[in-house]
């Protein structure tokens, strides 16, 4: 199988939220990287996971499937999943696949962090 063409960086965003910066391609091959990043991000008392898609370069339908399974894991841990940095194109994909019903989309990191910390 091809290697994942994606990098994920995890950082804190206040006491109860973590940000995962997604850089590169979100495809089926990104599963292990995404789940590792989630495990790292959800350490401690984290109540919200924020995905930063500013540097998302490519996403196929398997990538969307990964976000669905991540969302289920996040909900199971009684956490919330939020995003920011989605381009118009990727916002439209969230609409078609109806991920926007369950994942809050914000315009900026500031806004997403504020929303996460007010939960």
């Amino acid at each position: 199988m091809p290697q994942a063409q994606v990098k994920m960086n995890v950082r804190d965003a206040g006491e109860s939220a973590s940000i995962i910066d997604v850089e590169g391609e979100l495809t089926a091959f990104a599963e292990a990287v995404l789940m590792d990043a989630y495990n790292q991000a959800s350490d401690g008392q984290v109540r919200a996971i924020i995905l930063n898609f500013e540097n998302l370069e490519y996403m196929n339908s398997s990538g969307i499937g990964l976000l669905v399974t991540l969302l289920i894991r996040v909900n199971r841990e009684r956490q919330q999943l939020l995003t920011y940095g989605l381009s118009e194109h990727y916002r439209s994909i969230f609409q078609i696949t109806r991920l926007d019903d369950a994942i809050a989309i914000h315009d900026s990191e500031e806004e997403a962090v504020r929303a996460a910390n007010s939960m």
Partner: protein, 252 residues
Amino acid sequence: MTEQDETREKQEREPRDAAYWARYAETLKVSGVAEGATNINVEGRRAVGPLQGFGKMWQKTYRVRLKGAEVTPKEVIRTWKENYKDFWPEGNRFYAPLSGIAPGEVALISGSLPGGVTLSTGVMVLYADDESFTLMTPQGHPFSGWITFSSFEEGDATVAQAQVLMRANDPLYELGLSMGGHKMEDGMWQQTLRNLAAHFGVRETVETDVVCVDPRRQWREYRNVWHNAGIRSALYSITTPLRRRGNGPPAH
């Protein structure tokens, strides 16, 4: 130019995947109805994903290794798209869109449900590139979700894979899945992959991997039963003679 402007400009450039995705539309539109197809449960319905369904969420993966076949993943997917309906098992019909399996196209389906009911439903092509394509279901379909067909190289062979991510759309379908529906669905995709493999001269076992991603049912979605395509298809069949008597031939 500020850093924020640069990020925005970078994002607004046409992404590499743009041509592969369907465009957003509030409801589905069927561009043409083939002879024998029935468009009673697709036109005007919304496409629904695994988050909108009622039942437990399942990820089912069916795969076959095309051992010995000199075929690339791109060739597998091209063949699969072109002959999609021919690889389906008997008893189910897929009416391919006129322009083939392309993003945003809607196909009609007539399938069999337990009890001899013919189910009229459809799918929308959510995504299609050279090495994969994904079909998404409309409201009323037995499951809410999508199925991705892909091909890739693994070791010394090309693999063909179908992966379903779904929930039963409503409580009746959930019951049906637990009473043999899962088995029927597994059988259908296993046979499809066997037929695809046979096209390339391969007879290999289809591996099946089933994972319950979310064991919880989404009770707030029980009203999805209103669109249940099985019930609507059955009612449509029962009332066909009345429509014939009143208005001439049944509308498609």
